[in-house]
């Protein structure tokens, strides 16, 4: 049980750690693409174009989406949650998921992540050249694919933990049995010695064992006390005392 708890807990914490690291790398991977898009947007804004009217942006979003097979789509929406650009033409008319706007607003200037059904989104805030927030960019990816990767590692870690647990439990049980066996033999010798009732009649094994001095003293003292009590009792019964 102790081995199972130790290995199980370590496995669980290790899995948590893996998931955090993998998610961080995933976000970094998506965000770096987002940043490159942001740089392009800033260049367009510097030329005097309006944020909602950058004609080259849809094409660029399509190209960037194709750079990484994890990216399902790239969406850009303004600070009020209106969708401005999307690689998925149908999404352009739909409202931005509430979870995205909430996560984006909560994150402030930092990167953010949100999940909605089977899709996850990693996002950044978009700023103009005066460092003013003009909107957000979200890179959508398949949560199922991410979960699949996580599950694969979880399965590997579980198998690892189970194997180690089996080895450790067997090893510790054998070692415990060995220690207990020696103790058991010594205790058995003591039991037999006690059964003899006389210190002088203790078996050789009991005499050799680690309990020998204590057992001798125990038997001698109890015998002596019993003998004295018996003597007094006998004297009382017989009407005489030695």
């Amino acid at each position: 049980m102790v081995c199972g708890f130790a290995v199980g807990m370590a496995g669980l914490l290790n899995y948590f750690k893996y998931r955090a690291a993998a998610d961080r790398i995933l976000t970094d991977r998506l965000v770096v693409t987002g940043r490159l898009v942001e740089n392009s947007i800033q260049s367009s804004l510097a030329l005097g174009l309006q944020f909602a009217e950058i004609g080259t942006l849809p094409g660029m979003l399509d190209r960037e989406r194709a750079t990484d097979d994890l990216i399902l789509g790239i969406d850009i929406f303004d600070t009020e949650g209106r969708m401005l650009y999307s690689t998925d033409r149908l999404r352009a008319t739909r409202p931005v998921p509430a979870a995205w706007t909430a996560a984006a607003q909560l994150a402030g200037d930092a990167d953010w992540r949100a999940e909605e059904g089977h899709e996850g989104a990693a996002g950044i805030s978009l700023k103009n050249n005066f460092d003013l927030k003009i909107g957000y960019l979200a890179l959508r990816y398949s949560m199922d694919r991410v979960r699949e990767a996580h599950n694969a590692v979880a399965t590997e870690l579980t198998a690892l933990a189970l194997g180690i647990f089996a080895c450790a439990a067997t090893l510790s049980s054998l070692a415990l049995l060995w220690v207990m066996h020696r103790l058991g033999r010594n205790l058995q010798a003591v039991e037999q010695g006690l059964g003899q009732g006389e210190a002088a009649r203790l078996s050789a094994r009991a005499l050799r064992g680690p309990f020998s001095p204590a057992l001798r003293r125990f038997i001698e003292t109890t015998r002596r006390a019993e003998a004295e009590i018996g003597e007094l009792r006998a004297g009382l019964g017989n009407g005489s005392s030695s």
């Binding site: 770096v32 750079t67 205790l187 680690p210 004295e228």
Partner: protein, 700 residues
């Protein structure tokens, strides 16, 4: 003899399990680390490939627009942009179909030219969609992507990732795996102690004691049955032997008594001799029934460790992320700066524990340990649950107050439990159970809390703390109800204002309390509980890192405190340990003058841990040394009560002082200011105690 042998058996059994667990954890850590490397390295490469894909699509677009591949313009600037977005990219180059470098940014690694022109590299031009595995070149991992236009291959894009980045990531994982290993080990030892240790240790001890009792002629019946024993048949045999003698004596005593009841002329002639023999037996041997329950059940004392550990763990779980959580719930409070508000929940918690302590003691005396601990645990569980749901910082303050209330009750009741159940001669060693549980929780809690907060979030971690507090209630139910009779224990009372005033004006008392105990606690809570978790986040690190740092403090305490406690044997030494400890702790804060990175914070916390370990045992012992007259007048309960009150007020002041300092001088300087002030307090303590010694030695 056999006490040593039986102790050896226990240590061997515990050692075997611990060794097996350690080996299992080490193997698990090693194999997990390899799994992580295998699983994460391709993910890092995919990020680079994604960046490469962006560059490649730009290049292809330019070529489609009619710009010759060899004459692309602004590529180096594009590379610069990529480096800004992905700092781990340490080299970028575009080569033509023969491996000749057309554009490059940053320094090429050794062997780059040969690699670019190698047949295997150029072969990639025939596979436009190929994503080859990274190749190690010098201190870079090189990822190469072919650039192929629809009509012909153009060249290759090479992206070098700094090996140090990958190593840092692997090291970060490794550190956490080691943290997990240490935490799991501490947890396991606690579990081992809880499941088997208490019973096995007690069974072995009872066996040894039964032998010793028989050998010494102590045939008394135990106060209460000791329950199921690990060595049942032998114990039964030994106890039956002792009981047989005890019963024989009782029967003899009864017979003598009966004999004395009859008229004198009818009495047996041997009655007076039997009576004399009975007295003689009573003088040499012990018969009858044991009276002190503490002698009878050695497991009682150890029973408090598990619930205390689980409960304290619940609180420690929140240690590494509490300031960050408060930051998340901040709302503008008129007239109070956000920095001060960040420190409020910690300060309020400490204040409640400090002020409540004498009252909790009284309550515990009235209700008993078990009920006080159960109520305290339940109150804290509600507090943790509420903290998990808090909508803003004001909510959190209210819920954290409940946590403080519960913590104070459990702490005081557990302390009283140990005092009540410890045999008077083993009080100091029995306190190891209490201190050990707190220290083990201090090692495990912050690190696990940090990992959990990073992974499942801060609110769920608070919920988990609530669950742990509830679990502790289940274990607390196993504690005995009521308190043992207070034989030599003076009735508890709250110190009066005049007693507090008298002690505050007492020079000897204030040397220990004002110059040592309070500064030590101000440094601990101000620096470790407030500054470290917040500062670590400001330098772009994680809550898991702050958990690791705080775990280091606990681990140093676990290792060093028992060693230094053994050194505190004379008053002179105690002075040096306390003063020296404060100076070392203070230097921990001052260390931030040398650097501001995570490594410096680690070093600072290690110094604080060493310093606190040096002073912690000697400090409270010095109260008795310095205040003999006051203890004689007011009693040690009052003197120590006021000492603990002031010490814990130091706990409450720490975060407030740190917050005020951050407001004016920033995080890094706050470490330095607190550290220097505490080091100065330590120096002042040493000077004051030197003078006092000199005065004591001066001829009258």
């Amino acid at each position: 003899m056999n006490a040593g042998y039986l102790r050896g058996v226990y240590l061997r059994l515990a050692g075997v399990v611990t060794l097996a667990v350690m080996m299992a954890l080490a193997l698990n850590a090693y194999l997990s680390q390899r799994t992580f490397e295998r699983a994460l390295a391709p993910e890092v490469a995919k990020k680079v490939i994604s960046v490469g894909g962006s560059i490649r699509s730009l290049v292809l677009r330019a070529v489609e627009s009619g710009v010759p591949f060899e004459e692309l313009y602004g590529v180096t600037e594009g590379f610069e942009e990529v480096h800004d977005e992905a700092p781990e990219v340490a080299y970028l180059a575009i080569t033509d179909t023969h491996g000749k470098v057309l554009h490059e940014r940053m320094r090429a690694p050794v062997g780059a030219r040969a690699y670019f022109g190698a047949e295997r590299t150029l072969d990639l031009l025939r596979k436009p969609d190929a994503v080859p595995p990274p190749v190690r070149l010098g201190n870079l991992y090189m990822v190469t992507l072919p650039i192929v236009a629809p009509d012909k291959p153009l060249g290759l894009l090479h992206i070098g990732v700094d090996v140090r980045f990958v190593n840092a990531m692997v090291l970060d994982m490794l550190l956490d795996v080691i943290v997990v290993l240490v935490v799991s080990l501490f947890f396991t030892l606690e579990l081992l102690h809880f499941i088997a240790g208490v019973k096995l240790d007690a069974s072995l001890r009872t066996l040894g004691e039964t032998f010793a009792r028989g050998a010494e002629g102590d045939f008394r019946t135990p106060y209460q049955a000791t329950g199921e024993q690990a060595f049942g048949s032998l114990m039964e045999l030994l106890q039956a032997t002792l009981a047989r003698v005890n019963q024989a004596f009782a029967a003899l005593a009864q017979a003598v008594d009966d004999g004395r009841r009859v008229p004198a002329h009818e009495r047996a002639p041997a009655l007076s001799q039997a009576q004399a023999g009975l007295v003689s037996l009573g003088q040499r041997y012990r018969f009858g029934r044991e009276s002190d329950p503490r002698e009878a059940d050695p497991t009682l004392l150890a029973k408090v460790r598990a619930p205390l550990f689980v409960f304290i763990l619940a609180e420690e779980l929140t240690r590494s992320f509490l300031p960050a959580y408060v930051h998340k719930l901040l709302i503008p409070l008129p007239g109070i700066s956000p920095q001060l508000v960040l420190g409020l929940p910690i300060a309020l918690f400490m204040l409640i524990v400090a002020i409540g302590q004498p009252f909790f003691g009284l309550w515990c005396e009235r209700l008993g340990h078990r009920r006080t601990m159960l109520i305290g645990g339940a109150v804290a569980a509600i507090g943790f649950g509420g903290s998990a749901l808090a909508a803003n910082v004001l909510d959190l303050l209210a819920w954290r107050s409940l946590c403080g209330l519960g913590y104070g009750m459990v702490f005081v009741a557990a302390q009283a439990y140990v005092l009540d159940h410890a045999p008077p001669t083993q009080r100091a060693s029995s306190f190891a159970i209490f201190v050990g549980a707190i220290m083990a929780a201090g090692v495990c809690g912050p690190s696990i809390g940090g990992i959990l907060a990073d992974n499942i979030g801060m609110r769920p971690t608070f919920a988990l703390a609530a669950l742990l507090a509830l679990c502790s209630l289940v274990v607390m139910r196993g504690l005995p109800d009521g308190r043992p009779p207070a034989e030599n224990r003076p009735p508890m009372r709250v110190p009066t204002v005049s007693e507090i005033g008298t002690l505050l004006m007492n020079r000897n008392f204030m040397i220990v309390t004002g110059l040592a105990a309070m500064p030590a606690k101000i440094l601990l809570t101000g620096m470790c509980f407030y500054l470290v978790p917040l500062y670590v986040l400001t330098i772009e690190s994680t809550q898991a890192m702050s958990g690791r740092i705080l775990m280091t403090y606990g681990a140093v305490m676990v290792v060093v405190a028992p060693l230094t406690a053994a050194l505190a044997t004379t008053r002179e030494r105690m002075h040096w340990l306390v003063g020296g400890g404060l100076v070392v702790s203070g230097l921990g804060g001052a260390l931030l003058l040398a650097g501001a990175g995570i490594g410096w914070i680690f070093a600072a916390v290690v110094l604080v841990g060493i310093g606190q370990s040096l002073s912690i045992s000697a400090q409270s012992a010095l109260v008795a040394e310095h205040c003999l007259a006051e203890i004689a007048t007011m009693g040690d309960g009052i003197v120590y009560g006021v000492y603990r009150l002031l010490e814990r007020l130091g706990n409450a002041l720490g975060p407030m002082i740190a917050a005020a300092l951050v407001l004016f001088v920033g995080y890094r300087s706050s470490f330095v200011v607190i550290g220097c002030a505490v080091a100065l307090a330590g120096a002042a303590f040493l000077v004051a105690t030197r003078r006092e010694s000199a005065r004591a030695l001066a001829p009258v």
